[in-house]
Amino acid sequence: MDFATLAPFLVEVVVGGLVLGFVYAIIALGYTMVYGVLQLINFAHSEVFVTGAVVGFEVFRVLKDVSMNGYLKLLIALLSAMVISGALNVLIERLAYRPLRNAPKLVPLITAIGVSLILQDTLRIIEGFQGRFDLTYTLPQGFAGPFCGPNSSCASLGSFLNTIGVRVKVTDIIVILVSLVSLGALNYLVNRTRMGKAIRAVAQDRVTAGLMGIDADRMISATFLIGGALGGISGVLFGMKFGTVNAYSGFDPGIIAFTAAVLGGIGSIPGAVLGGLTLGVIQSLIGAMSVLGGLAGIANLEAVDASYQRIGAFIVLVLILIFKPTGLLGKSNVEKV
């Protein structure tokens, strides 16, 4: 095994992991926002994000024959996914969580599971009427944009850029860019605006925030709207990254994203991003393990297949939580007696 072949491969694996990690991070933010305000694991979030993916697919399909810049189509897809997923999340909160605001904590958890089951079947029925179930993302082609690499003249969505022997997909770059923009927007929204301040106040103490003249219910709705919109974005990104989506494909990334949120310290926004990126890179490395094993001639490594990806994520989680019980960036909960 020589370094010259290994290094570009490793870079590719890490970049792939980062892309995956950004998708996870944006999903994880949806969990962590809701958790921060309501201390509720929103099990329905994985379906909200699949809804976003489905909406993105439908937009790409409708706009297929419209002559338009590919990036504009992507923007329209992202915006419609954000709006619909956000509205769906608000609706879920209104119907399934708000009536249970004062119930014991596990009760809304069960309604969340119920909502997630309902949404899974609803999505499947809607797709069933259209006569298709596994949605294959066909990205808009035929546009000349800013991504013009040295080896390929001008890249369209879906093609590769090739520099110093490292091949990176254009969609991967777009995933990272969109994620960074949404992270920036979220950061601005939460830390710089009046609404963000109010949301943080409600997250800290709902009752006292109410006494200060903040309408807690409205702020919780706003949180669900933002969380749902993030879910919509991540859905479209997920579709672009993996190519196919169906009604049940939210489960796996949902679990991993929630793990990421916990890993980073649930309720913490930078934590969710860090957790997502960590898990993405780890999964990507485990996925590449058999290739690495082949290169290095280690038979045991070659036997490691993709089904160990989730185990790897959980083992990292267990190790980190044992040494840091509140996650990487979680605030330790000082208990006063």
Partner: protein
């Protein structure tokens, strides 16, 4: 709160008669509707009774007997007659005509036992465990590996790949095991007398690693030395070992519970939830990938069961077919086991350890201050819950005669949690009811709905209820939780806790401070009250 609001209740005698009447009618209908000869003679009525929806309703109504026997204030003797009559007499009799009924009852009881186990962990001790089904898997695999051709294949493998293993390895492994175990006990004694130092904790850890190594060496050597027996064990071990393994499954599941619990029980609430979820998945993925031991995704089959000649003879005399013997045997076994589990539950609920669990659930810090050893108490909860799951997993494996990782997915853990919360967390009859409701919905009512509407023309294929099982189930979960957030049969203790706030409002009617107004229901803060919300946060599974 006042007596005037309660409706006048029927007298005991009236209720007794009603209960008996209901029992007799529903039993008769159940027996008739599962007798195909009779149904064929009845013509039109027979077709109605054969309808899957009607059948599901009949079964549910019949099972409601037992619920009513518990709920109504009938005479105790009548209650006993109804409960025993339906479980020991009517149900097996109906099951003779329709084996699926026996299967369903076993399924319901298995889930009831699982829910009772999880109820200890979540309902009493307040530890949100999302990987509970893993213990079920441990019990199931403990038995399936040995009671199927798997074991001989494992022996064959070790016979072909013995490595450097011989009798000397066995001796070494045993010696290592004994020495490390003894030193662990010794260190433990020492630390009880004097405070633990870094040296003792590290030597303890070192010894435990040695113990694991010793056990692995011993097991490997034993397998290699036994490999000559591979041919003789081609059909699995002697079914007489069933009873030994019943105890072993309880023990193994409890040990796994402790092993999983030890590192993670420091964590709280949702951190604990996600980490148990993760460890549950780890066990499932291991079962999926350790092909030699678990046959991977193909699953282990056929898994044997106990053979009890005298029981088979009895069943044969009662008119059961030979293929039904085993199911009937398992039915009575499950009935017995679940009675035992309920007894243990009732005792635990009232015992010192039960009160310690509740104390930890309500306020960890206060409980610790009162001298409750946190880790130990939580571990006991984990191990107890796990052992219930372990024994039921083994019975499940014997019933299905087939075991694969498919049966132990996260969804199943969530189902069991839904049973516990739907029924009423912390309440034993509630949890059993929740399990029965969920299991009936999943295995009888919803499939029945799908079957009945499969041939109806005006329902398009896409919205056939058999395709909508998840949706309907989810809608029922949401509706039930919105209507009865405390569960179907809430425990008395919990009910008092939950209505704490309403009682406060009642007080405010007497001139007590109600200054915070209606907008903040349930979060009333005043110097005299415990901050309810703070508990919600730290308790996790409140």
């Amino acid at each position: 709160m006042t007596a005037a609001r309660k409706p006048p209740r029927a007298s005991q005698a009236e209720q007794s008669v009603l209960l008996l009447l209901f029992f007799l009618i529903s039993s008769a209908v159940l027996l008739v509707s599962h007798n195909s000869d009779l149904l064929n003679q009845m013509g039109h009525l027979g077709t109605i009774l054969k309808n899957p929806i009607v059948e599901a309703v009949m079964v549910s109504l019949f099972l409601a007997n037992i619920l009513f026997a518990y709920l109504w204030r009938a005479h105790p003797v009548v209650k006993l007659i109804v409960a025993l009559g339906s479980l020991l007499f009517v149900l097996p009799l109906a099951g003779r005509a329709d084996t699926s009924l026996l299967d369903l009852s076993i399924q319901v009881m298995i889930f009831a036992a699982l829910a009772l186990g999880l109820n200890i962990v979540v309902g009493l001790a307040g530890l949100l465990d999302l990987g509970y089904i893993a213990f079920f898997a441990v019990g199931a695999y403990t038995w399936s590996i040995f009671a199927s051709p798997r074991f001989s294949e494992i022996l064959k493998y070790f016979g072909e790949n013995p490595g450097a293993t011989n009798a000397g390895t066995l001796a070494l492994g045993l010696a290592l095991t004994v020495i490390t175990a003894a030193s662990m006990v010794y260190i433990n004694r020492q630390t009880q007398r004097t405070a633990a130092t870094a040296a003792t904790t590290w030597s303890f850890r070192l010894a435990s690693f040695g113990l694991v190594a010793g056990l692995i060496l011993t097991a490997r050597a034993a397998l290699v030395l036994m490999s000559g027996q591979a041919g003789a064990l081609a059909g699995g071990i002697n079914p007489a070992f069933f009873w030994l393994f019943l105890a072993l499954a309880i023990f193994t599941a409890a040990v796994v519970g402790v092993l999983i619990g030890l590192p993670v029980l420091k964590l709280k609430g949702d951190y604990l939830a996600i980490i148990t979820l993760g460890l549950g998945e780890v066990i499932r993925v291991l079962a999926l990938n350790l092909d030699l031991y678990s046959a991977g995704s193909q699953g282990i089959t056929p898994v044997g069961s106990a053979s009890v000649p005298w029981f088979n003879a009895l069943a044969g005399r009662l008119g059961f077919e030979e293929s039904q013997y085993n199911l009937l045997f398992l039915y009575f076994l499950v009935l017995l086991v679940i009675l035992g589990i309920m007894q243990v539950n009732v005792r635990l609920d009232k015992s010192r350890i039960g009160r310690a669990w509740i104390a930890i659930r309500d306020d960890e810090v206060a409980a610790q201050a009162m001298g409750v050893p946190l880790l130990q108490t939580k571990l006991i909860a984990f191990a107890t819950g796990a052992s219930f799951a372990g024994v039921m997993g083994m019975i499940f494996a014997a019933k299905q005669t087939f075991i694969s990782p498919e049966s132990f997915v996260l969804n199943e853990s969530i189902m069991v949690l839904a049973m516990v919360i739907l029924g009423g967390m912390g309440s034993i009859p509630g949890v059993v009811l929740g399990a029965a409701v969920v299991a009936l919905l999943r295995f009888r009512v919803l499939p029945g709905l799908g079957e009945a509407s499969a041939n109806v023309d005006w329902i398009p294929q896409q919205v056939n209820p058999s395709q909508l099982q998840k949706l309907i189930f989810g809608a029922i979960l949401v509706a039930m939780m919105l209507l009865r957030p405390e569960g179907l049969l809430p425990s008395r203790r919990r009910q008092l806790e939950l209505h704490h706030d309403e009682n406060q409002e009642d007080d405010s009617g007497h001139g007590n401070a109600g200054a915070l107004g209606k907008g903040n229901q349930g979060d009333v803060y005043s110097p005299g009250l415990a901050p309810v919300k703070e508990n919600d946060r730290s308790g996790g599974a409140k």
